[in-house]
């Protein structure tokens, strides 16, 4: 029976879809059978981030409305065994699906998989509530900025009242250099105010854009700090005790840039 995990954020554009795709691919690499469900109806994106957009025929609303069978809508990723995508409808609105239908869909998927990851729309309205209805656990994504952390706090409150547990935090797009320079909220600053368990910190990484361009989740090829961070998150989901990455070491470049900044400042 699969664990059903929803990826949420409150604020948009903080990395839910990127996280869902990379964690799904990482879990599949660890030998699990995983389906990533694009629950962002009307703004479907998980298909392109996973690089499977050309293979989409049906979507999960078609399944709900019995236009096709579940197996016909599932897109199998040929690069990693055990990885599947269940696409969203692009030409429908968020109210095309009810919470009850979402729960029923998850129940139908559960016996077939080890993990069901739901990529949720931004916001705290119906779309989010429908998408999250079938989930047991939640991942909340935030960037180290005030608006994003603030919205994460709202979402955490709502997830708690919906009975999701555990609810764990992903801090995305952290820039170790900026933290060291005292110009970005650090991991502990965010954990202090949110009081929620952390499952991983993903650094800002240009490979995220590269992998989106190529249509291949980073965790499939592994060669970047963000890929490593997502692999670690997947391992922690599997209950393994993986130490946090030493992001400070990525910030050593920061010392040089500070040196430069310092001498530039002197000249003025």
């Amino acid at each position: 029976m699969a664990r059903v995990i929803v990826t949420t954020s409150g604020k948009g554009g903080v990395g839910k879809t990127t996280s869902t795709a990379n964690i799904a691919a990482a879990l599949a690499r660890f030998g699990k059978k995983v389906v990533a469900v694009d629950a962002d109806v009307g703004l479907r994106n998980l298909d392109v981030i996973m690089g499977l957009e050309n293979r989409v025929v049906y979507n999960f609303i078609d399944v709900i409305e019995k236009v096709c069978k579940l197996n016909q809508a599932l897109v199998k990723d040929k690069r990693v065994p055990g990885l599947y995508l269940l696409p969203a409808a692009q030409t429908r609105t968020k109210d095309a699906v009810t919470p009850e239908q979402m729960i029923a869909l998850c129940e139908e998927l559960k016996p077939e998989f080890d993990f069901i990851l739901l990529d949720c729309p931004a916001g705290i309205e119906g779309g989010f509530k429908n998408a999250a209805a079938g989930a047991d656990e939640a991942l909340v994504v935030t960037t180290p900025e005030i608006p994003s952390v603030r919205d994460a706090d709202r979402i955490i409150g709502m997830l708690e009242s919906m009975g999701k547990s555990p609810i764990r935090l992903i801090i995305n797009r952290l820039r170790p250099n900026m933290v060291q320079d005292g110009d970005m909220l650090a991991k502990d600053d965010i954990l202090d105010v949110l009081s929620i368990d952390l499952i991983g910190v993903v650094p800002e990484d240009e490979n995220v854009i590269r992998s989106t361009n190529n249509g291949e989740p980073m965790t499939m090829s592994l060669d970047s700090p963000a890929a490593q961070a997502y692999l670690n998150i997947a391992e922690r989901l599997l209950g393994r005790d993986v130490p946090l990455m030493d992001l400070e070491s990525y910030a050593t470049r920061g010392f040089l840039s500070r040196l430069k900044k310092f001498f530039k400042g002197k000249k003025k």
Partner: protein, 93 residues
Amino acid sequence: MDFLKRLFGSGNEGSRGKAKDRLKIVLIHDRTDISPQLLDSLRSEIIGVLTKYMDIDTQKIEIDLDHDEHEVALVANVPVLRIKRGKVDVDKE
């Protein structure tokens, strides 16, 4: 000293500290945002409890959440007319 701090980054003189302070305050306020309906039902339950122990002037009760910069307090001002003497029968509903 100052230049060393700038060179090694002391961690607090940038915008990080300010961000954390502002975030804390914003969350205190967000988390204590109470709807008028909730405040109304709180009010009537508080009156219910208080009247077991004392006669109060229900017309003049003030109950509100008082926000200031760093904390939020529930402030209640309840004019008491008379304390009820003797044992209060708490179980009697």
